[in-house]
């Protein structure tokens, strides 16, 4: 399985569609303070199934929908897609039928989140099997959010084990 691209529609500041190719080696993401880089990181954790609003710096999960700006009206939904290349057929059963996997998460105001894999609805926990299988996932050591190194450094030993345990 190889992660090929991320597509963001209406998630936080990305009211216009944004596509991020995910290619071999090291890709840098740069830009001024407050322009959306960490929001992009949160979108990745979110589409993988992050369910705590605090982990996406929100009070309620609906807060990830574009809330409007001076020039644009608030959105009514947010959607993030993860495009996965499965040509090596290493995806777990239930996800291994196709050579390309499109995992999508969508949230609509007052309707909550739904997860879709290649067009069909899937349950959150089936999606967790997919990501656990490749050692990814919102709280794995594959996703290091801004400030997480400080949490590791400053936390008491028992809290630290918690911060990293999700990773094990």
């Amino acid at each position: 399985m190889k992660f090929r691209a991320l597509k963001i529609r209406g998630f936080k500041g990305f009211c216009d569609p944004a596509d991020l190719p995910i290619r071999d080696g090291l890709s840098g993401i740069v830009g001024p303070n407050g322009c959306g880089k960490s929001n992009l990181v949160e979108a990745i954790g979110w589409v993988m199934g992050e369910n705590r609003p605090s982990a996406v710096r929100s009070d309620a999960m609906e807060d990830v929908i574009f809330s409007g700006s001076a020039t644009r009206p608030a959105g009514s939904s947010a959607e993030v897609q993860l495009i996965i290349d499965n040509s090596d057929r290493t995806a777990p059963p239930g996800f291994n039928d196709d050579t390309e996997l499109v995992i999508a998460r969508r949230i609509d105001r007052d309707l909550g989140s739904s997860f879709i894999a290649n067009g069909r609805d899937v349950r959150w926990r089936d999606l967790q099997l997919l990501f656990a299988d490749s050692a990814t996932g919102a709280r794995s050591s594959a996703l290091i959010s801004q400030g997480r190194t400080n949490d590791i450094i400053n936390s008491k030993p028992s809290a630290r084990k918690g911060i990293l345990e999700d990773a094990a």
């Binding site: 190889k2 080696g25 992009l40 700006s69 001076a70 050692a135 190194t149």
Partner: protein
């Protein structure tokens, strides 16, 4: 359950010891499971001995030394279960130039070993210069995020 946790801990500890010495060009470190206030609640202590300095817990190191140690720990977990993607948000902020270069070399080595694709969010020009490509996020229109492609020379303007 407990067996598996201890085996995982041993793997991570072995990786951590090796990564620490690599990033610090020497010295040694180890992880220890410690009794929490609650005996069922073991904690994770990080003991470090940077080269030429004294042995201490992570809390007594300098800001950059602490971050470099945390990087060793994060990748120790990562290498125990390598994933196809690894996303790091501004991990390099407290590092001096030579430690930033060590951080980048380590990521390059991981790419060679596991084929992992890295997404590295950074403000640091040295990190940017080690990337294979750069993507920019801008907010020309207030409150509206937009992705743009960037070449290395433009990166300086973009990071501002």
């Amino acid at each position: 359950g407990r067996e598996r946790m201890l085996t995982a801990f041993e793997t991570v500890n072995t990786n951590f010891k090796q990564l620490f010495s690599e990033l610090f060009n020497g010295g040694s470190a180890r992880l220890e499971l410690v009794e929490g206030d609650d005996p069922l609640d073991t904690g994770l202590e990080i003991l470090c001995h940077p080269p030429g300095k004294r042995f201490s817990t992570i809390s007594l190191l300098s800001g950059g030394e602490q971050t470099l140690t945390a990087v060793a720990l994060i990748f120790a977990f990562f290498m125990a279960n390598p994933a196809p993607i690894c996303v790091l948000d501004e991990v390099d902020a407290p590092l001096d130039d030579s430690n930033v270069m060590k951080f980048c070399s380590l990521m390059e080595k991981i790419v060679q070993r596991t084929g992992t694709r890295f997404l590295v969010i950074t403000h640091n020009p040295i990190t940017m210069s080690h990337m294979d490509r750069l993507y920019g996020v801008t907010m020309q229109e207030k409150g509206v995020s937009k992705m743009v492609s960037v070449d290395l020379t433009e990166a300086e303007k973009l990071a501002a």
